[in-house]
Symmetry: C2
């Protein structure tokens, strides 16, 4: 791994642990034992590194929603989707933790975020419509039922990790917290899901989670 | 209003507009046109003002959950509760926006937050159980159905404003956004609510929202 990559990865790790606001270029070069000049050779400032880190968030969300989906969507695919969605937030928890402040400081980043957020919520709405078409879910109640479940899915998805962090004195989150979070996302749709489909999805989830390693 | 009160209110207003991280004692004294010595006569530092602002959040959450509730809980009471809950977040959006960073910097605040958050989620669970006892809601599905709807209610409640802020280039939120947010909170329970009860609650909500003044 070259210095450029090492700087990017170290920044993500430090910010995930301490929050984006607490980490500047000083902390990054100290952690890597490189000179400030070395960092500035690769990056103009902290904001530039954050934009590069956001490329990954963008790509991950995009991949989640555009990956080839076999129709009808299987219970395994359903479980995998929501598990992966929460992993994206976990891997980039510095971003969702410091969200408003990061967007305030960088209008370009804010615009990119608005775009990918809107696309992802549209994607979640499309998925919900597909579950209904597949016969695995009832139409959600209310005038804007599909939109509403998409929005609530997104709110639980993007805020679960932050919630868990606030509940822990160390702000650390475990693999079990992730499992609980996927369960909470499922529960936005639970009332409308076919019970057999839901049970199958929860079985897949339990299996995938027990296969994954513990993460701190 | 004495200087102490003016400092507290100005801090809340500035932080709500610009975020807690962007506001220090310098910005506060400049906005009020007072001397730094005047501020330091009343407060040791910014953290002390934030703790005092958090007293209000704590009190508002406590009042929400312990106010005399006539049983059975009426649709009007139900609507009023969720509207008020979102108003608390709106009035203190600096707090929910900068949450992780604020808690990281002040262990005492973090502990107080954990306590009131846990109590509020317990309270939401109690409310859901009461709606079922009152015959206005079905038991939520799943092994931990009551807990799960309480958690998802809390996640939508505390993150709706932040979501809306990220969607606006100015991070401003309107009274209509608040109405939409209450609708989203309702929708965590919608699948289980008695349709007549739900319709009555939405009517009350629409009335209260059209009576309230626009807020920017």
């Amino acid at each position: 791994m070259g210095n450029r990559e090492r700087i990017i990865e170290e920044t993500r790790a430090l910010m995930n642990e301490h929050g984006a606001a607490s980490i500047g270029t000083t902390q990054i070069v100290e952690a890597l034992k490189i000179s400030p000049g070395n960092l500035y050779y690769h990056f103009k400032n902290k904001e530039e590194i954050i934009r590069i880190l956001f490329d990954d968030v963008e790509r991950a969300l995009h991949e989640l929603l555009t990956a080839d989906i076999e129709i009808p969507i299987s219970a395994a695919r359903f479980a995998g989707f929501y598990l992966r969605s929460l992993e994206v937030v976990w891997d980039n928890r510095f971003f969702y933790g410091g969200l408003l402040q990061l967007l305030r400081k960088d209008e370009e980043l804010a615009e990119r975020y608005r775009k990918v957020q809107a696309e992802t919520i549209d994607g979640l709405e499309g998925l919900a419509r597909q579950f209904v078409k597949d016969g695995n879910m009832e139409k959600p109640r209310g005038r804007n039922g599909f939109r509403s479940v998409a929005l609530n899915t997104w709110l639980v998805w993007t805020n679960w990790i932050r919630y868990k962090q606030t509940m822990s004195p160390t702000q650390l989150v475990t693999r079990e917290d992730l499992a609980e979070g996927v369960g909470q996302i499922f529960d936005v749709l639970t009332p409308y899901l076919d019970p057999d489909f839901e049970r199958a999805a929860r079985r897949v989830l339990a299996r995938e989670l027990s296969a994954g390693s513990a993460d701190g």
